[in-house]
Structure formats: C-alpha cells, structure tokens
Subunit: 155 residues, 2 copies
C-alpha cells in the first residue's frame, strides 16, 4: 500500500514512509487552509501574521528564515497582506536595505481572533495520536529535518 513499487527492501520502506509523510501533511494542510480561508486569508498569510503576533515585528528576511520561504515569496505575500491592510512596511532607519514588517491594529485583531480556533483545530487533528505518540512523531520529524538541513551536500 502507498507505493506500488517493487524494489529493494530499504527502498520500499523509505518510499512508503515518504509517501505517508507527504499525504499526512497534505491532509493537515488542506484542513487548516480550509479553516483559515473562512477568515479571508491563506495559510501562507496566516503563517506571517502568526509569526508577527508571537515574535513581534521583524525584517522580511527573518520572516523567510522562520517560515522556510524564499525572499521573493515573502515579498509577494507581504504585498498581499499590505493590500488588505493587515501589515505595514517600515524601512529600517539604521540600515535602509531592511524592511521591517509589523501588524496593523486590523491585522492584530484578525490574527488574535482566529488563532485560538486554529490552535484548537490542530489539537483536534492530532488527537488521533496519544500525547506520547505526538511526542514521538515530533521527535522523528525533528531528527529527519535536522539531518537534511545540516547535510547540505550536492551529489
């Protein structure tokens, strides 16, 4: 099940794990995206607003780092958030290359209003796994993610 691929056992195992990881993530994302869409924003926009709410104003570069997105992507998403009046851009005084992004009152109100429901929704989605198994999953993902970001090889 998962992959209909017949190969070496280690390949079958890794591919099966891979496909299940992707499908689970897809399902979680789709559910959360549908939920935040009711408030008129996308999951990417939600990520920016939530980061600004919990960590405060920061440069676009920092946002890209936190959210693992490219610089050009952040520019586009901030453009759309700014057009909706949810964030504001400010050229940093002591380094005019940097643009700091902050929540507007409207943006703060919105994200503060929808975040609790978002958190509850995540709790509910993950409630299929016991607390111990949630921790297991987090640990496995942490190990996996670590080994990839650190092993930046080319071959």
């Amino acid at each position: 099940m998962g992959t209909h691929f017949t190969g070496r056992p280690d390949e079958v195992r890794a591919l099966d794990t891979f496909i299940k990881l992707m499908r689970a993530t897809d399902s979680v994302s789709a559910d959360l995206a549908a939920h935040v869409a009711e408030s008129g924003i996308t999951l990417g926009q939600f990520g920016v607003l939530e980061t600004l709410l919990h960590l405060g104003p920061m440069s676009q570069g920092s946002l890209g780092g936190k959210l693992l997105r490219s610089g050009s992507n952040i520019t586009t998403v901030i453009d759309n958030l700014q057009r909706q009046g949810l964030v504001a851009r400010t050229r940093r005084k002591d380094d005019r290359r940097v643009v700091d992004v902050s929540l507007t009152p409207k943006g703060r109100t919105l994200i503060a209003r929808i975040f609790p429901g978002h958190a509850r929704r995540i709790v509910r989605l993950f409630s299929a796994l016991s607390p111990d198994r949630q921790r297991q999953l987090a640990e496995l993902c942490r190990t996996l993610g670590r080994s990839i970001s650190e092993g930046e090889q080319d071959t």
Copy 2:
C-alpha cells in the same frame, strides 16, 4: 523550540508536533524538488509520471485522487507535460467525458531514467532514521492521515 507560543500543555504539544511535521516535509520536498529540477521537471510533474509508470494509464480524475490534487490542478499539470511531449491525452471511447493519460515513449524513458536516483535519494534522506524508526514514522503518519480523511466534519 518550534513554536514560541505559550498556552495549554495539549496545545503546545500539538502545535509543536505540527510545526516539526511541516518543517520536515518542507525540507524533504525542497531537496527532492531540487533534484528532479535537474531533469527539467517539477515535483508535481514527477508525481504524475511516476504514477503512470507504476500504475499504467489512467483518467485525470484518478490521477487527482492518487495525488490528492484538484481536477483543475491536474488539467494544468497535464497541459505542461503534454507540451513537453511526455504524456498523451486520449478521450475514452466508451465514455467521452473521460480523458485517459498515458506516458509517451519520451516520457517513459525520462521517468525510468530518473526514478532510480530519486528512490536512492529518498533512502538517503530517511537514513537518518533507523528502519524501525522509519516504520514508526510511517505508522504515525498513516494514523494521522486516516483520522483526517475519515473525519470529514465541518464545525
């Protein structure tokens, strides 16, 4: 680490698991996308070609089901693959609403050439986890994904 959010313990745990799941998936996807890009295709296109290679020709609707993508998305991706001469569309004779998609010789050659390297790459990415831990991860993801697809509630 992960979320800088202070809330109820069950919320912190679920959010932490969620963020690590997303980041791990992002890292894996980015690595594989960079690899297939060397052959001039995207990860979405790769998914279609690989499905057709291992399961044979099928309708666009079936492809969307396998890959968890919308119908309009499949149309677009198939458009791009067709333009590159990698797949062919055939109106099904006994039901002219359906369009079957199949690999062209060029498409088959391409996917057969790059799939082994792709599989090896996945094996390497997941080698940070022992075989047992890979199976654990797969099982946790399967449980998580199942509970979401089956529990199609609204609230």
